[in-house]
């Protein structure tokens, strides 16, 4: 069987759900960031897959969006990790369930 678009989409859907799993079910802040990065990577894979399997010849729109998305993901990871470090300095914990001072 030759690889079809469905195959690529299933893989990126699986990667997305695993990222969602990591983001929702872990308590450590860095794990949540790992999950978010995985979700972004899965979305980029979707873009490139649709560009590749679409009617050719077409302009490289999917590829360009993927490149910009990678750049933005890097910026977001940097700021997110800086936030984790700043929070750790204050509260000495990275457990997100313990950061509840604004509750109630």
């Amino acid at each position: 069987m030759t690889p079809t678009l469905q195959f690529c989409l299933i893989i990126s859907a699986a990667l997305f759900s695993i990222g969602l799993l990591a983001a929702l079910s872990r308590r450590h802040a860095i794990f949540i960031l790992i999950g978010i990065e995985m979700m972004l990577a899965a979305a980029n894979l979707n873009f490139v897959a649709f560009w590749r399997f679409g009617p050719q010849p077409q302009p490289p729109t999917g590829v360009m969006v993927a490149i910009f998305s990678i750049a933005i993901a890097a910026a977001e990871a940097a700021v997110g990790l800086a936030l984790v470090i700043a929070v750790y300095r204050h509260y000495r914990t990275t457990n997100v369930t313990k950061l509840d001072q604004l509750k109630g």
């Binding site: 030759t2 690889p3 079809t4 678009l5 469905q6 195959f7 690529c8 299933i10 893989i11 859907a13 699986a14 990667l15 997305f16 759900s17 695993i18 990222g19 969602l20 799993l21 990591a22 929702l24 079910s25 872990r26 308590r27 450590h28 860095i30 794990f31 960031l33 790992i34 999950g35 990065e37 995985m38 990577a41 980029n44 894979l45 490139v48 590749r52 399997f53 050719q56 490289p60 590829v63 360009m64 993927a66 490149i67 990678i70 750049a71 933005i72 993901a73 890097a74 910026a75 977001e76 990871a77 700021v79 990790l81 800086a82 936030l83 470090i85 700043a86 914990t93 990275t94 457990n95």
Partner: protein
């Protein structure tokens, strides 16, 4: 595009991602994430977008993974583990995956095979960046500058 390569890389990527999401020790999870990113980069190579694959290795593995690893180092908690699991999260993830699978497998127009294309050269990407996408390029530059300055300010020690 050979099927064997696709399947091998898919298995590797998903195994790495599952390990990253479920391992208890944080460092091992971060390094399995690197494996998953490398798998995604290999996917890009297979799909014919080599430049994106190289940028993926460069930015994600060379920069984001190093950042994650450094942050793990700097915020070492008393216990090394990342904590236990949350059943609601697992159920949500499985539900999302089931929904996506239903949507994908239920659309017959998505079962197409890849048409033949000419290789996407870096020259074409460069031309597209400078003509059609020049304003997004400037915006991304501005965004990266803002992220750089913001990150630095967040982490700088306060002057006493």
């Amino acid at each position: 595009m050979s099927t064997a390569a696709f399947i091998v890389i898919a298995v590797l990527t998903l195994a790495g991602a599952l390990a990253a999401a479920s391992l208890l020790k944080l460092i091992h999870a971060a390094l399995c994430l690197v494996l998953a990113f490398l798998g995604v980069a290999a996917f890009y190579f297979l799909l014919g977008a080599e430049f994106v694959g190289l940028v993926q290795v460069f930015v994600y593995v060379g920069a984001v993974a190093v950042l994650i690893v450094f942050t793990i180092l700097l915020t070492r908690p008393a216990e090394e583990t990342g904590g236990g699991f949350n059943w609601a999260g697992i159920m949500t993830a499985i539900a999302v995956f089931a929904g996506l699978m239903w949507a994908i497998l239920g659309t017959p127009t998505l079962a197409v095979v890849a048409p033949q294309i000419e290789a996407l050269t870096v020259k074409r990407i460069g031309e597209a960046l400078m003509t059609d996408y020049v304003w997004p390029l400037q915006c991304v530059g501005l965004l990266l500058t803002a992220a750089l300055i913001g990150g630095l300010i967040l982490v700088m020690e306060e002057k006493r």
